[in-house]
Symmetry: C2
Subunit: 156 residues, 2 copies
């Protein structure tokens, strides 16, 4: 039991940053988590897009790793990250998620399925060669857009 | 080609936030990505620890999802997220990663393997019952600590 308590202490220390946020609002922690997930998408898509656009040299190993990462990230269960009420109507400074996201839920699930399918495609193609990567990245961008266009507030 | 350009445009728009950072320092984007990954760890460990400590009621479905998420996050390839030089010696405001992390690399890889093993354990146990979750979460906390104690600067 002592070890258990100590380890939980360590785990608690690990989440201290988000713990502070939890004390402020029950939505801070899930909002941070989903934004972290988007950041991971962004980082890996950025690597792939950089190569696809010729801004950085094509590297099969880096491209494969980024594609696999995208697939892993897209497979993460987001159920706990979008609690009802965590939209931008009362917290525009913290989130760009429009209230419609919660009322049009099947459409969001479809967009998520599109993303998973697109990541399957890019996992299969990214490590082959540059042309294959360029052919597969479009579906990823479209799946991102399918959610963002409908459910994310425009940046001001 | 028009569709390709448009989709790349969308992908570029997606990474605009990190794009701004890239213009500032080549390290900003990988630092944000690894911090996002840690945030995802933290969110999911937080859900599991909350149940293990009795702060929130045990829920097998939520526990399983969080455990699976941990495993997915731990499986993400971090090669591109830790470029040499992205330590806290010149950027203490942006990262807590100590320079030792890069010179003691095998130890970091071991810590990462510990985490993957620990997530296998928690994936198997978290959805069974509360006692099983409590028995498996310790190894996760220890694997986090094995890296943080050696390679993360103390919070001030």
């Amino acid at each position: 039991m002592r070890i258990f308590t100590r380890v939980l202490g360590a785990a608690t220390a690990l989440i201290m940053l988000s713990g502070t946020a939890i004390a402020q609002s029950p939505f801070d922690s899930p909002i941070k988590a989903r934004q972290a997930l988007m950041q991971l998408y962004s980082f890996n898509i950025g690597q792939l897009a950089g190569m696809a656009k010729g801004e950085v040299p094509y590297d099969a190993k880096v491209a494969s790793a980024a594609a696999n990462n995208l697939k892993l990230a897209a497979s993460i269960d987001q159920s706990a990250m979008w609690p009802p009420g965590s939209d931008n109507s009362a917290m525009a400074d913290k989130t760009s998620a429009l209230p419609d996201l919660w009322s049009a839920f099947p459409k969001v699930v479809e967009a998520q399925k599109m993303l998973v399918t697109a990541t399957d495609g890019i996992v299969a193609m990214a490590g082959k060669d540059l042309a294959s990567l360029q052919g597969a990245i479009g579906a990823v961008g479209r799946s991102c857009g399918s959610c963002h266009k409908s459910f994310r507030a425009e940046k001001k």
